[in-house]
Symmetry: C2
Subunit: 219 residues, 2 copies
């Protein structure tokens, strides 16, 4: 009797995420999954990234929201191919939604695809999209206690962009302590401190993306 041992059973989502990843690698597209609370600055970071990299890399964007197309309109105005996904009520993107969105993007003319997930720190952690890197944005006004409350998100991301540093003078946010707690949860995380309003700190972020694109993978 022959016994087949199935080493790893992929969920339906993970299977399609693997298909997406295969497509990205075949086309040479580096893909970032951007996750954050509502209003932390996902779209602002995307617009700043377009500004910094549009002349160096061919960009694409997928916007995920419960409803509306306000974010996609902003990206389109910046001259970058964009697809808006409206999830209805679902609190995260998933791999099939991305698969569908890819049919509307010029995959043969793209180096870097930025995917903006639905705004919250919980649901997106459970659904891989086929991305190469997971990036979280945390913003100063949200407070420095968030790693205690949403450990899964902080633990699994490859990079953490701390946004709205221009507001530090007006808020009680202990940045060194925050950084220490995050590093305790996730020693490998890349840490960026930026202000999408003033532009401070964004060069380092943009350079990291160019490096990733050149290496074709994280680390």
């Amino acid at each position: 009797m022959k016994v087949n041992i199935v080493e790893e059973i992929l969920s339906a989502n993970d299977q399609i995420a693997a298909d997406n990843r295969h497509t990205f690698d075949e086309k040479g597209i580096f893909v970032i999954n951007l996750m954050a609370s509502p209003g932390a600055g996902k779209t602002s970071l995307i617009l700043r990234t377009i500004e910094a990299l549009q002349s160096k890399l061919r960009l694409g964007v997928i916007e995920g929201d419960i409803a509306s197309r306000v974010d996609a309109d902003k990206v389109a105005a910046a001259g970058v191919p964009v697809v808006q996904i409206n999830t209805g009520g679902t609190c995260h993107l998933d791999a099939p939604m991305i698969r569908q969105a890819l049919t509307d993007l010029p995959l043969d003319d793209m180096d870097l695809l930025l995917v903006e997930n639905v705004g919250n720190l919980i649901c997106p952690t459970g659904f891989r999209l086929g991305e190469h890197a997971q990036v979280m944005i945390a913003s100063i006004p949200e407070g420095d206690d968030k790693p205690y409350k949403y450990p899964a998100m902080f633990t699994q991301v490859d990079a953490l962009v701390v946004n709205k540093t221009d507001l530090l003078p007006y808020l009680d946010f202990d940045l060194p302590a925050f950084r220490q707690v995050v590093m305790g949860l996730n020693g490998d995380v890349r840490f960026f401190e930026v202000s999408c309003k003033t532009g401070e700190g964004l060069e380092e972020w943009a350079e990291w993306l160019v490096e990733l694109d050149e290496m074709g993978k994280v680390n």
Copy 2:
């Protein structure tokens, strides 16, 4: 043949929410379900409410978080009975979690129970807890486009507390336009503008809670 027509079939959650409501009404406890993004100021508003009302009403608090007890510790330090619910990974409280928490609260010595839901604008909209009023906190740094992206939350709440008005000078937030959009979605919503940092606007909020407690119901 007799045909039974079931007019309304309650979900399991709604059935337990109705039980909770019955308990609250029997004990004369007015219950608020507080919902908001991470870092919008749910716990800060609770602490300010305790400060304003502790001498007038007997308060209780239920804190909902994915993980940690940092919020409950702050409330306990203010001398108010509190239960912390950790949902594990679930992105909202539900009626059974509240039912369970009630066994640890002094229900015979309570006028007002403030329930802090898990931080996001999506999942909590679908689960009634037995509360008398749903209150959303929106904070200025989140931006004024949130009603377009999370219409369900804005549409169904009884009151909207706009927090962090002290940051208005440093941010592009069009408060009159925001208010107009919210009123378009929800003409009955009570609107409060506060700063939990400076204390501005909190008297009106506290007065509303006292009125509700006296009337025993919303509107």
